[in-house]
């Protein structure tokens, strides 16, 4: 079964960020049928994230979240807009992720804000970040200002379109060129003669 990981960086309960994440998730399920869904709320990970920044290794809660991301076939990520960009907590989670873990993975980007004046935040903040991480970004990002939850300025239409695009990307194996992970090296080591040859350039 397709494994979908949903990351929500909303801080309040209830949270409009989580609300958007849920609507995106439901739309993806409508498109592709039953999926295994793992929702990662970042708020409970705030302390583990700060600890990880300082110690350099993830505690058990954070490790669990990283394992879920690594195993995901696709992700839905939603952040509130703080000071014209993604939230600090959201960026901490991204910074803490193991290297290359998002390479080649389809990612649907979402953002919420109090005002429609932040509507390009996905394009100018989130898209470059996930491009750097070599994720495969769904063409339609879904931004929702507070107003959009009332007088629907075609929020539902954008959600459906983004979900359809994500569904179309699933299962398409992208040829990715990423360095071997430490785990891969443990499982299938590069023989030392080869390491010597490489060291010699």
């Amino acid at each position: 079964m397709t494994r979908l990981v949903v990351i929500s960086a909303g801080l309040s309960a209830p949270s409009s960020t989580r609300l958007l994440a849920d609507r995106l998730t439901e739309a993806v399920v409508r498109e592709i049928g039953p999926v295994e869904i793992d929702v990662i709320e970042l708020r409970p990970l705030a302390r583990p994230l700060a600890d990880q920044m300082l110690t350099g290794f993830p505690g058990p809660e954070l490790q669990e979240a990283f394992d879920a991301v690594a195993a995901a076939d696709a992700l839905v990520v939603v952040t509130p807009v703080f000071s014209a960009s993604y939230s600090g907590l959201f960026k901490m989670f991204i910074d803490a992720l193991p290297r290359d873990v998002l390479t080649g993975k389809p990612v649907l980007l979402g953002a919420t804000a109090g005002s429609g004046r932040h509507s390009l935040v996905i394009e100018h903040a989130l898209r470059p970040l996930f491009a750097y991480l070599r994720a495969v970004i769904v063409p339609t990002g879904v931004f929702a200002a507070t107003d959009d939850f009332g007088r629907d300025a075609d929020l539902s239409g954008r959600i459906t379109r983004a979900a359809r695009e994500l569904a179309g990307m699933l299962g398409r194996q992208l040829a990715v060129n990423r360095p071997r992970s430490v785990e891969e090296e443990f499982a299938d080591p590069t023989p030392f003669e080869e390491l010597m040859r490489r060291a010699g350039g």
Binding site: A50, D51, M53, L54, T55, G56, F57, G59, P60, V182, E185, F186, P189, T190, P191, F192, L195, M196, R198, A199, G200, G201
Partner: protein
């Protein structure tokens, strides 16, 4: 089983008094601590190598020689010698001289160093860290096993007809350990040469240690140096003990909370669960430490970090006194159930004996060289 201490040589403010030791005090303290370690019967004292403040450990062999001159039994080692940014010819010369001065009472542990700017200060690039470690050690190994070396590589000027002086004491080079926390290539290197592998085993979850040690053991066997359980493994460790567990926690907490590396992050309690740090009574320390074998198997060397985070010298010496009191129990614990085929860490004497035995048995030259490098199993 070798038990000892290792230091990074940091100058850190004591958070409880606000006092920062001078470089002079810290350098002298390292000597005092090593002498104390010798006095209480520890086997190894290792010093670090750093080339930037707040560290004072820029010239390890000088410090080691000074300690060796004032001690009787303790073996001097490093934690770690920077194989990436130190010219391997200088390593061969400095540690070769030290080997003679100490009558072989030394070895060394190689590491890469993770401070970015140190690399360019020595004309190197941190992105080449693993390649530097591989090429530089290949040269060091040849300098210590071949009398006349012709050599050309990427990272230093070529050598034609070069003979390192002094040659290794008794024709047996110092034993070498390779240290790494999370880089399989370094464990692979240690396994390839049949050298020792050391995992820092502080500041990190035990799962990292287990993964690296398992891998090293497997590859040690793969390269024909002996069975996996005969590979030469060393671990770090960190403790703070007082006769009463609560006193240990109360006294160490401000140092923990403000320490470089992990300070201001997780609680002492969480960090003690997630890493091998033990803060408590001597008995708690004993049980936890002997438990390391549950995930790495029977091993050869256990070093403890005791002088860091701004702990005053007086406290460090008290810690060593407490360690000294339970040392017999610790040794007995390690000896209990240890299989007879698990070797001790090679020492100069054991390597000379192994080499002589190989020669007497008329072994081919390759096996004699292998014996001289500390792996007796090569000819088995």
């Amino acid at each position: 089983m070798q038990l000892g201490i290792f230091s990074v040589g940091d100058v850190t403010t004591d958070p409880t008094t606000g006092r920062t030791p001078t470089e002079h005090e810290r350098i002298k303290a390292q000597v005092t601590i090593a002498k104390k370690a010798d006095e209480i019967g520890l086997d190894v004292a290792a010093v670090g190598q750093h080339h930037n403040p707040p560290f004072v450990a820029s010239a390890p062999t000088t410090t080691m020689a000074w300690i060796a001159a004032q001690t009787e039994n303790i073996l001097l080692s490093t934690s770690t010698t920077l194989i990436t940014t130190t010219d391997p010819v200088r390593i061969a010369e400095d540690y070769g001289t030290l080997q003679h001065l100490t009558d072989g009472r030394m070895d060394l542990m190689l590491g890469r160093g993770n401070t970015g700017p140190v690399y360019p200060w020595f004309g190197k690039d941190i992105r080449e860290g693993v390649n530097l470690a591989i090429e530089n050690y290949a040269l060091l190994h040849r300098l210590w096993t071949e009398e006349i070396v012709d050599w050309e590589g990427r990272f230093r000027t070529p050598l034609q007809g070069f003979t390192v002086t002094p040659q290794p004491l008794d024709g047996v080079p110092p034993f070498v350990w390779h240290g790494s926390i999370r880089t399989p290539e370094i464990a692979e290197q240690a396994a390839y040469y049949g050298d020792g592998f050391f995992h820092n085993h502080i500041f990190w979850p035990a799962s990292h240690t287990k993964q690296m040690v398992d891998f090293y053991r497997r590859r040690f066997e793969h390269y024909g140096h002996g069975a996996a359980n005969q590979a030469i493994v060393g671990l770090g460790g960190q403790f703070f003990i007082r006769p009463n567990s609560q006193d240990a926690v109360r006294e160490f907490r401000p140092y923990f909370d403000n320490a470089p590396v992990y300070g201001h992050g997780p609680s002492l309690e969480d960090f003690s669960t997630q890493t091998p740090l033990t803060v408590g009574s001597p008995q708690e320390f004993l049980e936890r430490t002997l438990g390391f074998r549950d995930y790495v198997g029977d091993y050869q060397r256990q070093l403890f970090l005791v002088d860091h985070a701004g702990l005053p010298l007086k406290t460090v010496l008290e810690q060593l006194d407490l360690l000294g009191e339970i040392l017999p129990d610790l040794r007995a614990g390690y000896a209990e159930g240890r299989p007879a085929d698990v070797p001790e860490a090679p020492t100069h004497a054991s390597m000379v004996a192994a080499r002589d035995a190989a020669v007497a048995a008329g072994a081919p030259e390759a096996d004699v060289v292998a014996a001289a490098e500390g792996h007796e199993e090569a000819s088995a």
